[in-house]
Amino acid sequence: MPDNMPFIVAAFGITWVVLLSYAWHLHRVRAEAQRRLREATEALNGGGRA
């Protein structure tokens, strides 16, 4: 059992938490951007028809 195990686990754990949560954040941002783009497209189409 290495002496500094908690620190090593913390370092790798935090790395994964930070990277994965940023990736998740990016995923959400992308979904939001897509939703806005779809809405904008529909608004433009609807406006054209009306």
Binding site: P2, D3, N4, M5, F7, I8, A10, A11, F12, I14, T15, V18, L19, L20, Y22, A23, L26, H27, V29, R30, A31, E32, A33, Q34, R36, L37, R38, E39, A40, T41, A43, L44, N45, G47, G48, A50
Partner: protein
């Protein structure tokens, strides 16, 4: 015509989204793999013992942080030169990813410092200048958040990104001098050849993660801009209809 290009953007966006998600999973599996390889092939260090393994996340984060800021500087310069919105969005995406990596780096530095020197923070030249860098690029991102006009935001943040990049070597040098005047530099331990291969593959895995982040962020930003432009056009079309 505008509608059809928007539809096209939508279709490709949906497609690339599923592809992007799979790429993301693959990239993180690769990162886990390189970490596992590096950990399993490295023997405990003479001085640091198993603590050395933190190096496999700390050093790649540091290297890739510098790469991210280099990308910010290059694309800021390119934006001022050519004035294409694309370059501005890439610089912004790189700044955000770079800030995430720097934040991670600072926390890892503290985790490293505690068992090594018995303190959470040391005014080591590299750690301290990373903290300054972190604040410089957080400032860049906050500036972007506070400016609404896209042209203004692009020009201003390009100038801020360039001046910040110019300052990076000056900050590092000044902090190093300041440190050496007060107390001896913390031993810059030369890296054992055993660890080099582990470091290299992890740095490459981190680089792939960074590229994935920048691309992802850039594509979202591009979609947001496209949506804004469509909204503007829709507003104009409505007004035209009323007048007619």
């Amino acid at each position: 015509m505008g509608v059809s290009t928007a539809d096209l953007t939508m279709a490709s966006a949906t497609q690339s989204r599923t592809r992007g998600a799979w790429a993301g999973i693959g990239i993180f599996v690769l990162l886990a793999l390189t970490q596992w390889i590096a950990i399993s092939i490295s023997v405990p260090d003479r001085d640091m013992g198993h603590l050395q393994k933190i190096m496999y996340v700390h050093v790649p984060a540091a290297w890739n942080m510098m790469i991210a800021y280099f990308v910010v500087a290059i694309f800021s310069l390119r934006y001022l030169w050519k004035g294409q919105e694309r370059d501005d969005l890439i610089a912004a995406a790189a700044a955000e990813s770079g800030a995430v990596l720097t934040g991670l780096l600072l926390v890892l530095g503290m985790i490293w410092a505690k068992p090594t020197w018995g303190i959470w923070w040391t005014w080591d030249a590299r750690l301290t200048s990373s903290a300054v860098l972190f604040f410089m690029y957080v400032g860049y991102l906050i500036l972007r958040a506070f400016v609404d006009d896209p042209d203004r935001r692009a020009q201003w943040s390009a100038a801020v990104g360039l001046l910040g990049a110019l300052n990076v070597p000056i900050v590092y040098m000044s902090v190093r001098w300041w440190r050496t005047l007060h107390q001896p530099q913390s031993s810059p331990s030369t890296v054992d050849p055993n660890y080099v291969i582990g470091l290299r593959i992890n740095a490459i895995a981190f680089l792939i993660v960074l590229i994935y982040f920048i691309r992802h962020r850039y594509e979202s930003a591009k979609m947001e801009r496209a949506a804004d432009q469509l909204h503007e056009r829709a507003a104009l079309a409505t007004r035209g209809g009323i007048n007619a």
